[in-house]
Amino acid sequence: MNDEAITLTPQQLIRKRAAGEPVEPGAPPQAQQHIINVLLENSMGALIRVVNMFSARGFNIDSVTVGVTDDPTVSRMCIVTRGNDRVISQIIRQLNRLVDTIEVDDVTGTDFVERELCMIKVRCTGDKRSEVLQINEIFRGRVVDVTRDILALEIVGPTRKVDAFVNLMRMHGIEEVARSGRVAMQRAPQPTRGEI
């Protein structure tokens, strides 16, 4: 196809920019990771509908968590997904379209805190064990179970920190890893000086 050779009209440029598509010919497609929080009816059907929508429409899911909120009739999902601006806005609109979703919030680009919990079993004895415990210390992890040759550790932090920890443990012989997936929460807005 020699479509690229055709110069774009101003209107076509507007459309490409709005979609977050590259304007220069041959430029790679752009996709950003987004963290989307969803409040939905606390029912099995609601959860499946959300997940099913992602698969039916060919959207990505990097991770998904779900749990009940302070209101037992409402659960909260945190979905990590990726796509260009057009895809992300489609995801949000398709989520909103579902009857069971109460609120959809893309926290990406806002001021938010994110955490992931990871439990990891490492096979280690003797010197290796103290080395593992040292790393665990540095990462502010906790020992949750000990046997003669296995240490079970728990660490909590932003996904990047968990990734780094798992990578370091790799050379010590990981037996098992369980990660929760990310949860994220927007920070409360800081009061401006005038408001205090």
């Binding site: 479509d3 209107q11 076509q12 709005a18 979609a19 509908r49 057009r86 489609q90 909103n96």
Partner: protein
């Protein structure tokens, strides 16, 4: 979020009041889940139920015989036919269509119709029987995970867990089907819930915190729209089926005439703007008018009204309307900027936006633009050969002349559908009913059946015509017997080209004439005999000079369906055509000019 009208604010139409009055006497009474269900349907003023019994819903049918609810039950002969009938009923009347089937195969047979209604925004509610709750998940006899199967093809679906829940869920189901962007809702009814005793209650209020109908139409948007319109020199209205769903055809027509802006419609938009108006460009897209697509490609402003930029409309999206800013008026937010970016969007009801915009805009002086479009019309008019052979376009022109446009036409899928869209010149909303999004062969006949019952239920005096291909007709031919059993006077047309014509067309154009499995010459039944066996009047035309006579005879019959078989030439093609995936300015205009006409 901007202002949204709460879902609870349901307009009290006479129908709904009629429904509520009918059930007053039952409120607070103890009865079976099955009877509660019947009264819940009465409360929604469901006048016709298209259904088929079976084990899981046998108690509902039993109560129907005992209680005699105030709706008519129509026994269809295949559940797929039932769903399409409900669609035809809904599209012809603007009311919600209702289907009742048993579990397992009954439910799976409705899947095509549900998917069809989902794609085409048709308000239907499908009630499916289910095995008793304790058996769910046990691979019980006639068990299907109906919720799972229909999840991605419904606006919403429900499993009822107790008889007392039935009225609320039924009420929500009709509300969801009807409001916002309409669509199908499935309600799964386990047998033990239907058998158990409960109390009938009816609460008008809808409490769904996750659902509301959007109304994003503020001063700022309206003023921007006015400015964009004032600036534009080549404006175009692109009108879709959402306009008809919103009952906005009249408002739109007045709007376009006031502004003096040309109008093109999608397949589902046909009838939203009268095609005999000089401002009408007819249909756009793959088999749309060449001049309509030219107008799109040259427009500097497109106002999309209740339309979703389907790929059959746009062809290659990157090349569609390259100079046009887009204003999109659309109730479903997920359709906005999905395929074509909207420079300005009104996520709101079409009618209410047009009504608010209308007093703010002044007539456009776009003589040069309209002249340009006229030149395109003259350059490449819609034609077919006049050579003594029986051609489908001629049949359609004669049908149009007879019905005067004052008919409800249901079309099937394939060439017959596209010729009907091109040649029938629709002038009224709800006069053209077709399967556009899913493209379901076998849609037309049962949809016409449903439309016929709709005409009867609401006292509308209009002829219902069903246009079919010889292939598609066979996919739901069983419903003929239902039409004749109830004396529904359908005018059923079979355009018999002895081919799966549309596939044949692609095979000729893009697959070097390898007509693989599309020739039906030796496998088609004798349609006249088939029709007579179903107690219909049957007529046949082989030559153009017989057409008039057949149509005249058919229109004399008013107590029964009439089947008219027209033996048309098999090689006829639908032109013009944008090949799939090509740009709208690459239309093929005739068999002899496959090198595109730009």
């Amino acid at each position: 979020m901007s202002s949204t009208s709460t879902a609870a604010a349901v307009a009290e139409t006479p129908q709904r009041l009629r429904g509520r009055d009918a059930v007053q006497q039952h409120i607070g009474k103890k009865m079976s889940g099955a009877e509660i269900f019947l009264h819940a349907l009465e409360a929604e003023d469901a006048r016709v139920v298209f259904g088929h019994p079976g084990g899981a819903v046998i108690h509902v049918y039993d109560e129907m015989a005992r209680v005699k609810p105030n709706f008519q039950h129509v026994l269809v002969r295949h559940e797929q036919g039932g769903t399409h009938a409900a669609e035809g009923y809904a599209k012809a009347t603007g009311q919600v269509g209702t289907v009742l089937v048993t579990s397992g195969p009954g439910a799976t047979n409705t899947v095509t119709g549900i998917a069809d209604a989902f794609m085409d925004s048709v308000p239907i509610v499908v009630f499916t029987g289910q095995v008793p709750m304790p058996l769910i998940g046990n691979d019980a006899f006639q068990e299907t995970d109906t919720l799972g199967v229909t999840r991605s093809i419904t606006k919403h679906n429900y499993l009822v867990r107790a008889p007392d829940e039935i009225p609320r869920i039924v009420h929500e189901a009709y509300h969801l089907a009807r409001t916002g962007r309409p669509g199908p809702v499935v309600v799964d009814l386990p047998k033990d819930v239907l058998m158990a005793e409960g109390v009938f209650q009816f609460d008008e209020e809808i409490r769904m915190r996750g659902y509301s109908v959007p109304d994003e139409c503020d001063e700022i948007r309206l003023r921007r729209a006015v400015r964009m319109l004032e600036k534009s020199q080549r404006p175009l209205l692109y009108v879709g089926g959402g306009t008809i769903n919103s009952n906005a055809a009249e408002v739109l027509t007045e709007f376009a005439r006031h502004l003096n802006i040309p109008v093109t419609t999608s397949l589902h938009g046909l009838g939203a703007f009268p095609e005999d108006d000089p401002l009408s460009l007819g249909m756009l897209g793959m088999h749309g008018m060449w001049w309509a697509n030219q107008a799109v490609q040259h427009a500097d402003l497109i106002i999309a009204v209740g339309a979703r930029f389907d790929d059959r409309v746009t062809g290659m999206v990157d090349r569609w309307a390259p100079h046009a800013a887009v204003i999109h008026i659309e109730i479903d937010k997920s359709c906005i900027s999905k395929n074509i970016y909207a420079d300005l969007a009104f996520n709101a009801d079409v009618k209410s936006v047009l009504e608010r915009l209308r007093p703010l805009v002044n007539p456009k002086k776009v003589k040069r633009w309209l002249n340009k479009i006229q030149d395109w019309r003259d350059e490449c008019p819609l034609t077919y050969a006049d050579d003594g052979e029986l051609r489908p376009q001629y049949v359609l022109e004669r049908l149009r002349a007879k019905s005067g446009g004052d008919a409800v036409v249901c079309t099937d899928v394939g060439q017959n559908q596209m010729w009907a869209a091109q040649y029938l010149k629709f002038t009224q909303p709800r006069s053209h009913i077709t399967s556009g999004g899913l493209g379901t062969m076998g849609f037309s006949l049962p949809a016409a059946l449903g439309a016929g019952f709709g005409m009867r239920a609401y006292g509308i005096d209009k002829t219902v015509i069903s246009i079919n291909g010889d292939g598609g007709f066979m996919m739901n031919a069983q419903e003929l017997a239902v039409a004749s059993a109830h004396g529904i006077p359908l005018k059923v047309v079979i355009m018999n080209n002895n081919f799966l014509g549309m596939v044949r067309q692609w095979q000729e154009l893009f697959h070097e004439n390898r007509f693989s499995h599309t020739d039906l010459t030796d496998t088609n039944p004798d349609f006249v005999q088939l029709a007579r066996a179903s107690r219909c009047v049957a007529l046949r035309a082989n030559r153009p000079d017989q057409v008039e006579d057949v149509i005249e005879k058919a229109w004399e019959i008013n107590d029964r369906p009439v089947v008219m078989e027209f033996r048309v030439v098999k090689e006829e093609m639908v032109f013009p055509m944008v090949p799939a995936g090509k740009s709208s300015d690459e239309m093929i205009t005739s068999r002899h000019a496959p090198e595109t006409f730009v």
